[in-house]
């Protein structure tokens, strides 16, 4: 499978994504510099975590205008798979590829800890290898991960089943205590209506080996690999 991992100035998790894909899943990812145009064929483009452009103005506000982003928007419009992790999620929201925005954590504190995600929907290329209600453990590390959307947008997300993962406790229950950032409706990750663009605050790439405390993050990447297999692709496209 052809993975592209975009590097913005200030990205810092691109190597983790690269290593996770290569070492744990035998993939051959390729780094893409933000100043280049998107060339070549890819199955999935990853926007990694970090602090693109120093998080100046708003997280992701400037990265969305990087030259490569025009190609990413066109790629997404044609149905290409786009995965935004943490800062990547913020960039996708700023770029209008995903609805809503990510604002300051309600605690005002940077949060860095292992969280539990409950898989809410499996008919997406990012969760198709999981089971509904399955719990995935992976870390979060962010200061601005509180998801916000106005009531009408939130209603659309629910109606179209675009909320793919929610924060939950170890027993699978959502609660304020299990929500690390005050995110609306305990949202950890959402996809677009066409289900080919997915953004989440937690880091699946940092939960890809036992030594890191969890291998659950592989579920997200292996779902993408499975979805790119023709049969599965048809399944999630309906």
């Amino acid at each position: 499978m052809r993975w592209g991992v975009i590097v913005f100035p200030g990205s810092c998790d691109e190597q983790d994504v690269y290593d996770c894909l290569k070492r744990n899943l035998g993939q051959r990812p390729e780094f893409l510099w933000h100043k280049d145009r998107l060339k070549g064929k890819f199955d999935c483009i990853v926007l990694p975590g970090g602090f693109s452009y120093g998080d100046y103005l708003r997280c992701g506000a400037m990265a969305r205008f990087s030259p490569i982003m025009q190609g990413v928007v066109e790629f997404a419009e044609k149905g290409g798979l786009v995965l935004g992790i943490c800062n990547g999620f913020q960039i996708l929201c700023e770029a209008g590829l995903l609805p809503g925005a990510l604002v300051r954590n309600s605690s005002l504190q940077f949060v860095c800890r292992q969280v539990c995600l409950r898989v809410e929907e499996t008919d997406s290329p990012f969760t198709c290898s999981g089971k509904k209600g399955q719990l995935l453990r992976m870390p979060v590390k962010h200061g601005e991960g509180c998801y916000y959307a106005d009531p009408a947008a939130l209603e659309r997300l629910r109606k179209n089943r675009q909320i793919l993962v929610r924060y939950a406790d170890g027993k699978g229950r959502s609660s304020a205590a299990a929500n690390p950032n005050g995110s609306l409706d305990h949202i950890a990750g959402i996809c677009n209506e066409a289900r080919n663009v997915f953004g989440l605050m937690p880091h699946p790439e940092d939960a890809g080996e036992k030594i890191l405390g969890s291998e659950d993050g592989l579920k997200i990447f292996s779902s993408v690999i499975a979805a790119c297999d023709k049969k599965e692709k048809k399944a999630w496209l309906g």
Binding site: L57, A61, E94, P99, V103, S106, L108, C146, Y148, D150
Partner: protein, 80 residues
């Protein structure tokens, strides 16, 4: 022209920073303080043929980059 742009979180968007500042002011004895909202203040200089032309350009800049319409409102003042 010198432009002063004010960007603030929309009503209804939680502002934890504003809340924290409000609590601090209360603990300093300013009990009368309510509804603190923390925003951004941006100054820019601009060459434009006229005031309406400048306004149109500024609005474009705010909508595109300086504010996020999903969560923020903005207003600006022009000094000639």
């Amino acid at each position: 022209m010198r432009i002063r742009i004010f960007v603030c979180l929309k009503e209804g968007v939680l502002d934890p920073q504003g809340k924290a500042v409000e609590r601090s002011l209360h603990s300093l004895g300013y009990q009368e303080v309510r509804d603190v909202r923390v925003g951004k203040y941006i100054e820019i200089s601009l060459d434009a043929p006229s005031r309406p032309a400048a306004e149109a350009r500024i609005r474009e800049m705010c909508d595109k980059l300086l504010a996020n319409p999903v969560i923020e409102d903005y207003r600006f003042e022009i000094q000639e």
